[in-house]
């Protein structure tokens, strides 16, 4: 074959350059000109219009849902250089560095988003979208489980840590892929109920259930970077479920629950979890002693969802009359309602006071679950729903706020009027909330999007307890939530990253799994069985 001549080569190179130039010109971003203004806001997904964001949040990437061939968004703030984003398909991906600089310089101020869409008739400009920037930052990390909607079986579970300042997500623990130092995995053990002391990660707890039915659930306690197993069973009682750290870090309150899973044959929500019996217990971290006190383990009451106050002087929890003694009592599952109560505790003297009812379910009309006290000890945030103690499965679940400053110490419950947070609730399940360490932000789970998959929402809280419009956890891909078939579960805000070595966690999990049960295997109606 003859080698091509110089003229031919030059022609080929020139032609290629011409084509490349034409392509570059064709794809050059186009700024709007002579745009026609409309008075309405653009349709966006997610809808970030009117929200309040922390100054350290990742970019709020979104999609413009308006018809158009090209899109242009300008994000501006007073006294700062604007960000301009061009798009052909409506996906707006905001450059991270520019965003960080703009938002950080706009604390206490406002961002104005100008959205343009090019239609066949020309450019259209929509009403400016305004987003407030709070002065207070949010805790930079959130830890959650990302799982499919679980009914009875589990298989692959991961606990993930997301940096809220970026889109970085790290797997903290993977029940299949995380290995110990010998290269062995956790063999699909269930991992759940990660609980952090004072929004830090130096001390944390993890609940695990081995993948074999005859094996024993256990707690994994991490303290000073070391992981060890804690067996919270006692006298044949089931192991710990819900856990709360005393702020001193030396005491744990936990619940022991006898949960039964059932399934509705009609209605929007198929799953049901019923608590037949529960009590609270205490674990002394230094001595390893497990014990309880009568105030939190009455035989005629169900006690669950322990939550310590930030000063450690009160233990809040949900409490309901015992109900499941008679046969087929489970038929009355939808008649059980929990009160919100608290009991005082003197840590120095190790003395407990009397239980005080703050919200009576009978008067309130709803069941109370998942109480969480704000770090500034001003408020108690909890879920109120039609019945029972599993709000994520209750479309009726909504968030309520109790202002502790309004409590009359003499009247207690009589003076407490929880406020329904209409500014953040939706028509579907809103539940599992976590306060930021500065009490200015709340993260909660909501199924408002589709009723099936829980997503994480953030909302700013004013010191007087007024919440701002919540916004969904931002993702790098604006279309992420359109095809995400996983649910965000058990989200907790933390101030620092998890640093415990995953190899140690897996080692302890394997040690826990290796123990054989002294009792029979889990009953058939126990929820959440291993897949194999």
């Amino acid at each position: 074959m003859r080698r091509p001549g110089a003229r031919t080569m030059a022609a080929a190179v020139g032609g290629a350059a011409l084509i490349l130039t034409a392509l570059a010109l064709a794809s050059r971003p186009e700024r709007p000109s002579a745009a026609v203004a409309t008075s309405r806001a653009p349709l966006m997904d997610p809808d970030y219009g009117g929200v309040t964001i922390p100054p350290n949040i990742a970019p709020l990437n979104f999609r413009v849902l308006e018809p158009g061939r090209k899109f242009f968004v300008r994000i501006a703030a007073s006294g700062a250089q604007a960000i301009e984003v061009f798009s052909k398909n409506g996906d707006i991906r905001i450059p991270e560095n520019q965003w960080r600089a703009l938002v950080a310089s706009s604390r206490g101020g406002e961002l104005q988003w100008e959205v343009f869409a090019k239609t066949p008739a020309g450019w259209v400009r929509f009403a400016t979208v305004r987003i407030k920037v709070a002065r207070e930052e949010i805790d930079p990390y959130v830890v959650y489980r990302l799982i499919p909607p679980v009914y009875n079986k589990w298989d692959h579970i991961t606990i993930r840590q997301r940096d809220l300042r970026s889109f970085e997500e790290r797997i903290v623990l993977d029940n299949k892929e995380s290995l110990d130092r010998e290269g062995r995995s956790a063999e699909s053990a269930c991992i759940n109920c990660h609980t952090f002391l004072n929004h830090g990660t130096k001390q944390l707890l993890l609940h695990m259930r081995p993948a074999q039915r005859h094996q024993i659930p256990a707690m994994i306690l991490v303290r000073d970077g070391q992981a060890r197993m804690v067996d919270t069973r006692g006298a044949g009682a089931p192991p710990a479920a819900y856990i709360s750290w005393h702020p001193s870090g030396r005491l744990l309150a936990f619940s022991r629950n006898r949960l039964v899973q059932m399934f509705h044959t009609a209605g929007d929500e198929t799953r049901e979890v019923v608590d037949l019996n529960s009590d609270l217990g205490l674990y002394d971290v230094d001595s390893g002693k497990i014990y309880t006190v009568p105030q939190i383990s009455r035989p005629d009451r169900l006690e669950t969802f322990p939550a310590w106050s930030p000063d450690g002087k009160f233990l809040y929890f949900s409490s309901a009359p015992a109900w499941a003694e008679k046969p087929n009592a489970v038929l009355d599952y939808n008649k059980v309602r929990y009160d919100l109560v608290r009991v005082s505790y003197d840590a120095d003297a190790n003395r407990w006071g009397e239980v005080q009812t703050l919200v009576r379910a009978q008067e309130f009309g709803l069941s109370v679950s998942l109480p969480q006290v704000s770090p500034d000890a001003r408020f108690v945030l909890f879920c109120g729903h039609d019945y029972g103690s599993f709000p994520i499965y209750q479309p009726s679940s909504e968030l309520y706020l109790l202002d502790l400053a309004q409590l009359d110490p003499n009247k207690g419950a009589a003076a407490a009027k929880p406020r329904r947070l209409d500014e953040i609730n939706s028509a579907r399940s809103d539940s599992y909330h976590s306060w930021s360490s500065n009490s200015r932000w709340v993260l909660f789970s909501s199924k408002r999007g589709d009723g099936v998959f829980a997503r994480l929402y953030l909302s700013y809280v004013e010191p007087n307890g007024r919440f701002h419009k919540p916004f969904i956890l931002p993702q790098k891909d604006p279309r992420y939530y359109e095809r995400c078939l996983m649910t965000f579960n058990r989200a907790e805000l933390i101030r620092e990253p998890v640093t415990v070595a995953v190899e140690d966690l897996v080692r302890v999990m394997r040690e826990a799994s290796a123990r054989q049960a002294e009792q029979k295997g889990l009953p058939m109606d126990t929820p959440w069985q291993p897949l194999r």
Binding site: P148, P149, V150, Y151, N152, K153, W154, D155, K176, E177, L179, G183, S185, V260, Q261, M262, F263, H264, T265, A266, G267, D268, T270, R271, E272, P327, N328, V330, L331, Y333, G449, D450, G451, V452, F453, D477, E482, R483, C484, L485, M524, D525, L531, R532
Partner: protein, 659 residues
């Protein structure tokens, strides 16, 4: 021997090898199309492939992920019979072509038997419907890397460069194909040695030869053990599996590559011996010596008078052996995979709602091959064709007519369970079991499809949209998903969607809790109650009616049957209408009613049910046959011929196999 000799290519005579190769692959194509049926492979394995951003990236995180990704793409073609057979044959041919290239380079001429040997193993592996291991792709990657390595070596004259190149291709084949490493390493290592070794001493060559053999023997174990650590998920193991059939395939292919490597070693030994004898050295000298030797051999052949004919005949022996082996593999694997094939076909035709084919396939099943799933499938096919009430007892019925409402780790079971609940109208159970299937099926589009439809029926359209959006990125489901999304856009209530509307009519509105039944001394869900609830919701629910009838008949509960039969007037469908108009009663229901009247002395009529005289007389004949037979077994044998497909026979003898 020279790896870079272009003369070896010129020696290839297309007309000599092409015809038998073409015939060979034509036979492979026909067998794959008609004997294996790629549609069954596709259905059984459920290969997953999506085009949404991030899908591919999940595969490239671990060694061998690329091969699995490519397999997922290629296997989409198996959804069609002809196209799938063509693609699968092409995959096998590609592997053999690379093998042929290696054989030619290593041996100087094509050896058809050796080059096409992998096709026999790959064809056998294709009969293992459940096995989605990307072995064909891994083989192509491994051999392709070996060929490329051989082509690049001549461009450098330094052993260090060769070793570097070897390491590079080793890593490349491992990353792309995972286990492809075992197909690349032996051949390439020997090629490397062939280049370097001629200058070494005899002792060094001997030592290295031994080392290579030892490594080669342990290579599959080592790679698989380490790869499983890296991959962690239980991607099917190859050489350490307990499945004997798979082990035969993978070890066979590995030993074949080892044989290729052995060719190069033998050739070096031959050339080295020749070089030592002549005192010469260098690859050109060796090539010349071997060429001269073959020329001499050829002359000797043609010159010899007696036995020449036998020797000429002997040239065709390898081809005959090859085709004989092919016939043997086809025959054996077709026979050995018969059960899997029949069950896979029944599952496939049921899933794709080809009811006629499903029934015909069920007729080919052996009695021992009926299980809970296959029984349900044939009953469903008969129901859909309006023949359940006439023909269900043509097939072995041993157990309930429905699938058991419990989680099973066998994905086809869960798919049909979810589908069954949806068809019946137990939509919440469909959501339950479909979601359970999600846990271990991961991203199977069939599960997504079922859940999308479930949520559409429930009116939870936003949840349905998510599944439909994901499905719009699946090549085979895109059209269906986009159609549904468009329908939702135009008609959010889906009032024009007949399937959704009918399922909504059937959907239970009364809440109940399954665990309650369990506590009421039932070991499992109460089938009777399950189906009666549905009929109370929609009295025209023919599926609930017919399966409940089947339940009563199978349990010999004639009173229950009689009570339910009063609803028959509300049931419509082809099985209840005569061709010329007017209603008819399915045969088994007539038989059961005749039995009931006989046993209770009742003669009451049921509105909508008619007993034909022929049914009464058939029962009389059945009783005569049974009465004159000496003993139960004899009666079974006697009655089976004329009454084996009647309810009379089942009521008397069950589904016991008389053989």
């Amino acid at each position: 021997m020279s790896f870079d000799s272009e003369r070896s290519l010129k020696r290839w005579r297309p007309s000599g090898d092409c015809v038998p190769a073409a015939l060979f692959f034509l036979a492979v194509f026909l067998y794959v199309r008609n004997g294996i049926d790629p549609r069954l492979m596709h259905h059984w394995q459920g290969p997953v492939f999506y085009t949404y951003p991030g899908f591919a990236g999940e595969f490239f995180r671990y060694p061998g992920g690329f091969a699995e990704y490519l397999y997922g793409l290629i296997a989409q073609c198996y959804a069609w019979r002809d196209w799938g057979a063509l693609v699968l044959t092409a995959e096998i041919a590609a592997a053999c072509a690379l093998g042929a290239l290696l054989v030619r380079r290593l041996h100087g001429k094509t050896r058809l038997l050796l080059a096409l040997t992998p096709a026999l193993f790959l064809l056998y592996q294709a009969n293992l419907y459940y096995d989605g291991t990307p072995v064909r792709i891994a083989l192509v990657i491994g051999l392709g890397c070996a060929v490329a390595f051989g082509r690049l070596m001549p461009f450098a004259n330094r052993p260090a460069v060769w070793c570097g190149l070897f390491a590079l291709f080793l890593a490349f084949s491992y990353y792309l194909g995972g286990m492809a490493l075992v197909f690349f390493a032996p051949v390439a290592a020997c090629a490397l040695w062939v280049r370097a070794a001629p200058n070494w001493s005899k002792a060094a060559r001997f030592l290295l030869c031994g080392s290579v053999l030892a490594v080669a023997a342990g290579l599959p174990f080592a790679v698989e053990t380490y790869r499983l650590l890296e991959v962690r998920w239980p991607t099917a193991s190859w050489f350490l599996s307990s499945d004997v059939r798979r082990i035969v395939v993978f070890w066979g292919l590995y030993l074949w590559t080892a044989a290729l490597a052995g060719l190069s070693l033998r050739r070096v030994a031959t050339v080295s011996a020749g070089a030592a004898a002549s005192g010469g050295a260098g690859s050109a000298g060796r090539a010349g010596a071997s060429a001269a030797k073959r020329a001499q051999s050829s002359q000797a052949l043609s010159a010899a008078a007696p036995g020449a004919a036998w020797k000429r005949l002997g040239r065709y022996a390898p081809t005959a052996l090859l085709f004989g082996a092919l016939a043997g593999v086809m025959g054996y694997s077709y026979q050995a995979a018969g059960r899997d094939r029949r069950l896979a076909a029944l599952d496939y035709f049921t899933w794709s709602e080809n009811w006629d084919a499903a029934v015909r396939t069920a007729e080919a099943l052996k009695p021992g091959e009926f299980n809970t799933l296959s029984r349900y499938q044939v009953n469903l096919a008969l129901h859909e064709m309006g023949r359940m009430g006439d023909e269900m007892f043509r097939f072995p019925q041993d157990g309930g007519p429905l699938l058991e409402l419990q989680v099973n780790s066998f994905l086809p079971y869960m798919l049909h369970l979810t589908n069954m609940c949806l068809r019946l109208g137990r939509v919440n159970e469909a959501e339950h079991y479909g979601s359970e299937a999600l846990v271990f099926s991961k991203t199977d589009p069939r599960v997504y499809r079922l859940l999308a439809l479930t949520y559409l029926v429930k009116g939870q359209t936003e949840a349905a949209r998510k599944f439909l959006t994901v499905l719009s990125y699946s090549p085979l489901d895109r059209r269906w998903a986009d159609g549904k999304l468009q329908s939702l856009q135009q008609d959010p209530q889906l009032t024009g969607d007949e399937q959704v509307q009918e399922l909504r009519r059937r959907r239970l509105q009364t809440d109940d809790m399954l665990a309650v039944w369990q506590q009421a001394n039932h070991s499992g869900p109460d089938v009777e109650r399950l189906l009666l609830n549905l009929l109370e919701r929609d009295s025209s629910n023919r599926m609930a009616f017919e399966f409940l009838m089947g339940y009563y008949l199978l349990n010999r509960d004639l009173q229950g049957f009689r009570n339910l039969a009063t609803r028959i007037a509300e049931i419509t469908g082809p099985g209840y209408l005569r061709p010329g108009g007017g209603r008819r009663t399915p045969r088994h229901y007539q038989e059961a009613l005749v039995l009931f009247n006989e046993m209770t002395g009742s003669s009451g009529k049921i509105s909508g049910m008619e007993i034909e005289p022929e049914t009464v007389s058939r029962m009389a004949r059945f009783k005569q046959v049974v009465a004159r037979a000496g003993g139960r077994r004899a009666a079974m044998l006697e009655a089976r011929e004329g009454f084996g497909d009647t309810y009379f026979y089942y009521y008397a003898f069950g589904s016991e196999d008389v053989q």
